[in-house]
Symmetry: C2
Subunit: 225 residues, 2 copies
DNA sequence: GTCTATATCTTGATAGAC
DNA sequence: GTCTATCAAGATATAGAC
């Protein structure tokens, strides 16, 4: 994107004009990080603006309201997540005819692959965390509705497209929620100092631990405040 | 508590004086509900005050800061949760000598009982939800530290006092996090209108479903806004 | 122990120029 | 397409009376 000039001042220095669609995605990416770290209520539109390198009113101008921006962030996260899942399903199941009639070995393999793909999503810290904050904002009418719909869409994808039994879906989702919670808690930061944290993370993230710890260190150290 | 007089005006009408300790617990109980519904950043000290039937400055006066109030709410939730778990452990295991060397049937039974006890805690909606919001506020230095410590305390309780293997703890915690998420999402409200919601809740809450649905209807209908 | 009044800061949103 | 200036509302915290 817009080169070195931004590294000093967060504010768009020469007010460079870029296409609205591109700017939109820039803002959404920035908002995803900010909302993921602080939640809907805890984040400000100004923090998003700074992260995107533009002015606060422009953020509001482009998305109407903070609430609407958050909803678009959630929908973007859901879209990415489901795209990734569908990719794994397609990759794993090149010749299965009936997704409702699958053998146990297949769903076990697919479950492992989807789990790995989920963990890979951590590379962009904002996706899973802003989603999680969306789920926790069920109280807000508009956000709550979007969050419920999205969550149930994931449920149906796992059941109908991946061919999981309801109880397999439940287990998969449960692991995901623990995963998200450990990330939000920033437990990776305690990995070196607490044996319980270490043990829990070892058994939660297993082979993908390096990715989690590495992404964590890189991510949090960049934070503004 | 202070009887009928409060049903009209939320504000303590005649400024009735009650012992500080009792008032403290009143405020904590109210704050637990409010923070549980809206999270730390989303809740206001005034909402807590109204829920407790006193003035906003008095809430701040008694707890110093909103942040400190939230931390005390979290600690109260943790304390209740751990007390309940310890009660189940004691009840289940009257004669086991070495908690580190337990047979599978025992941990299965205990796990089921702890799970049931956890679901029972939903009767007070604030406990699990304010805890969950605490976990999601790992970004705040003070709150994050309290949340991490508390989470790890629960981990150690399950491992050392309940005698679970790390992987059993992981699974138990994962179910708990899914449980909390479904509550925060207010999925119980969608039970009648969405087959996926119904299926997921049926298999998550099983025999305790009545409790979840009942408590939900009763709880949310009482809400102020 | 508890309230009223209020200072002060933050923040989402609008107006309007370039 | 993007910014500066600014308003209005809301929220935490303090002061001080009763």
């Amino acid at each position: 994107m817009s080169s070195v000039s931004e590294s000093f001042s967060a504010q768009n220095p020469s007010a460079e004009r870029i296409p609205a669609a591109e700017r939109r995605e820039q803002i959404l990416a920035a908002a995803s990080q900010v909302f993921g770290a602080r939640g809907y209520a805890g984040a400000t539109t100004d923090q998003v603006a700074q992260a995107a390198g533009i002015s606060q009113p422009y953020v509001v101008r482009m998305f109407g309201t903070k609430e609407n921006l958050f909803i678009e962030v959630i929908e973007r996260s859901l879209s990415r997540l489901m795209t990734v899942f569908r990719g794994e399903i397609a990759k794993t199941d090149p010749q299965a005819a009936d997704p409702a009639d699958t053998d146990p070995a297949y769903t076990d393999l697919l479950s492992a692959r989807l789990g790995r793909a989920y963990i890979d999503l951590i590379e962009d810290r904002g996706i899973l965390l802003s989603l999680m904050h969306g789920f926790l904002t069920g109280h807000d009418p508009a956000i709550g509705a979007a969050a419920r719909t999205g969550f149930l869409d994931i449920y149906r994808l796992l059941r109908d497209e991946a061919g999981f039994e309801p109880d397999q879906v439940r287990e998969f989702l449960a692991d995901g929620m623990l995963f998200n919670t450990l990330l939000a808690l920033r437990l990776p930061d305690a990995y070196d100092n607490d044996e319980a944290a270490r043990e829990l993370m070892d058994c939660t993230f297993r082979t993908k631990l390096d990715l989690v710890l590495g992404a964590s260190a890189a991510h949090w150290s960049e934070e503004t405040a």
